[in-house]
């Protein structure tokens, strides 16, 4: 190749990167892409089938049917994820209010994850141990923490990327109108 033309390669690479960012920005502006609310192809779909072991007991398998049956949260977490730690206290609070939360322990070490739950409290009904990240891949997990809202029929209704806190709960998850235990107690109080 002509030596002068070769010097254009960096510019070309930059143009491609810039184009990607431009697309992202555009999609962010129009609300299509929100880093804390990635549009998931899975929304409206049922939970993908899986067959994995439980975190607490490697012998015991867990399948999608173990989770389906009530409105629930599926929380993706790992001990290597710092943000998960920040969100953990709020998960404990939700669990104590009776919200069913299932855990997807993502690309993690079993021993470390068990210690984590022992230490920080265990808000999960049960935990799926996804060492290879296969279920994560099926769900299109972007990174931890991530939380999927699943209805009683096992349909994914919403996906939240990032830390789950009271604001997200109030503004994003409650408006879905699923029958949460919290909502019921509030209604009873009224």
């Amino acid at each position: 190749m002509n030596a002068r033309l070769r010097l254009f390669i960096p510019l070309l690479i930059f143009a491609v990167v810039a184009l990607v960012f431009l697309t992202l920005e555009k999609r962010m502006g129009s609300g299509e892409y929100d880093p804390s609310n990635l549009p998931s192809a899975m929304i409206g779909q049922s939970l993908p089938a899986f067959n994995l072991s439980r975190l607490m007991n490697a012998e015991q398998v867990v399948v999608a049917a173990d989770i389906v049956g009530q409105a629930a949260l599926l929380n993706v977490w790992a001990t290597w994820c710092i943000a998960c730690r920040a969100e953990h206290a709020y998960l404990n609070e939700l669990a104590s209010q009776g919200v069913p939360i299932f855990g997807l322990n993502y690309k993690d070490e079993r021993a470390a994850a068990m210690q984590w739950l022992q230490r920080l409290g265990n808000p999960y009904r049960l935990n799926i141990f996804d060492f290879k990240g296969s279920l994560g891949l099926d769900l299109g997990v972007y990174g931890a923490p991530e939380t999927y809202v699943i209805d009683a029929q096992g349909i994914i209704r919403y996906r939240h990327v990032g830390i789950l806190n009271e604001k997200v709960w109030r503004e994003k998850i409650e408006p879905l109108g699923l029958p949460w235990p919290v909502a019921q107690t509030q209604r009873a109080a009224l």
Binding site: A3, R4, L7, F8, P10, L11, F14, A15, V17, A18, V20, F21, L22, T23, L24, E25, R27, M28, G29, Y33, D34, P35, S36, L38, S40, A41, A78, W80, I82, A83, R85, A86, A89, K107, Q115, Q118, R119, L120, G121, G136, G140, V141, Y142, G143, A144, V161, G162
Partner: protein, 682 residues
Amino acid sequence: MISVIPEIGHLALLLCLPIAIALTVLPMAGAAGRWHLLQRSGPLLSSGLWLFLAVAFACLTYSFLHDDFSVVLVAQHSNTALPSYYKFSAVWGNHEGSLLLWVFILASWTLAVAYLGKSLPSDMHARVLAVLGGIAVGFLLFIIFTSNPFERNLISPPLEGNDLNPLLQDIGLILHPPLLYIGYVGFAVAFAFAIAALIGGKLDAAWARWTRPWTTVAWLFLTVGIALGSWWAYYELGWGGWWFWDPVENASFMPWLAGTALIHSLAATEKRGVFRSWTVLLAILAFSLSLLGTFLVRSGILVSVHAFASDPTRGMFILLFLAVTVGGSLLLYALRAPTIKPLATFKLLSRESWLLINNSLLAVSLAVVLIGTLFPLVMSALDLGSYSVGPPYFNKLFLPLMVLLMLFMGVAPYLNWKHNRLTPVLVRPWYIVSIVALLLALLAVAFLSQRYATQWRFGAFVTVTLSSWLLLMTLTHAGLKARRFARAKKLSSRQGLLSLSRSYWGMVIAHSGIAVMALGIGLTSSYSVQKELAMAPGAVADVAGYRFVLEKLEDVQGPNYSATMATFGVGRLNEGALINGLSIRLQPEKRFYYAAKNVMTEAGIHGRLTRDLYVSLGDSLESEQWAVRIYVKPFIRCIWLGALMMAAGGLLVVIDKRYMTRQPVRTDSPSGTVASNEQAMV
């Protein structure tokens, strides 16, 4: 009484814009048209820019220190109960303030170039200042139109502020952003030199020589900044980890890798006139990655623990700015970079070749980090689904590259410029050093395996071998060089050592720093012991040869938080008995910050070079019990010590005598004749 101070600051900030525009246009026009008056206007305009930005920054600081909650920014990020040193750091603990700091640091660098760079040819000097002015224009536009720190709420100013994010209430975080920014922005100077040289068409050894000290200063600040960030994550997140491959960490690491490559390739360009196109591209790259880092953190594209303040609406502006600066400079590069083959030639076994290998390895590492950081973004931009790459990806690809880099780093100083032969005299020390390193590693790993009651750790063996080999290769080279010099000049060996140049010692210390850091990383990941326990006062735990006794739990009051503080007595065990009593005291805390309603962990750490004892509190369990995490982390301090050694090495290079003289440098020195093989320096 409504203070007028923020308005003064606002006005000063607004006035910066025309000054910066003038700084961009006038010296550049002066250089093009050879109008001397305009050409020499740079220093005056730089001073003006610096002065007005200093006023703006001082006014914002004043508003923070005096709790002026009519300024929206202060109300959002400060609080009357906040100690005044945190009020001070709160100035840049937010988006708007940190940008103001960024541009203030840029103005400070510009001022330094304006007055320390007077020995430069005047057209070059004018162009460099103009490019720096142009960058300032971009950032000022961004601040004034999208992120004004002086926005006010005069109608109903709140009586109390929201408080600073408790994670940021820490000495490490007071210093981390300024150091990082000094590094980031410092690469703007290297960038400005590169652009000025491309415009002026003079990309020669003299250009490399001027760029070198500025780049090294920026690099050393960035090194300290990154190390401090890692140290902060270590003790403040209560997790015992020191690097997470978090996107924001990567954003600061990428310019560092590019900067490291740049420092080395500048050496080759200065000494031998080779790699000129590559060097200028690296200078553009280092600064572009600094901008990209700012863009990634500030635009909200990335979700990260570090992204304390982000806003997607600002992303477009930064993107436009990136397109102009980076796209423009790469276009200029494509049009003007020299394509002629360098006059100087070199053989495979020469320092040039090995610097090229070093540069390639650093470039590949950079690509690994860049791809790992951007890949998930690219995939979601193209709507190809969402992917994540975790620490396993980085570790798997990064470690082998670093091993190779260390091997080449050990040998490179032994090679001369231009060509070399592998004579027995040259190679003999390598054999000896390799055998000694192997023996040392065997001893060390045998001792550590026994001390920490673990199995034989292969990873530890490899790292100890490699790091001691690199350390010994580097120090042996210094010793041999000093002896040769002493013999030739009939000096004592001590005088011989002292007569080696500062920049040579800088290389020795920086390379040793890499060895020390690698040692720390290898040993701490192989031998760390961690235990999670439930402990009540009086409880005893024996971990890795230390006894930890929880002596008491008490409630303490901080200025803006309340805390539970545990006191641990710790002593060394020998065959089950305490040697020296419980002589070490650790006091971890669990803090509750009132205003932000946030719980934070403060770890209790007792550090020695050979090990850290680290205790942090989890949650309170029933009946006075607390969840407690105890870590014994061997040699973790070597990681930061190594980083400091690298920075110290950089400092020595900068204060080398050759850069201290203010005499004008000949610009016409033909590349290739500058270097003499004996005074070789990297």
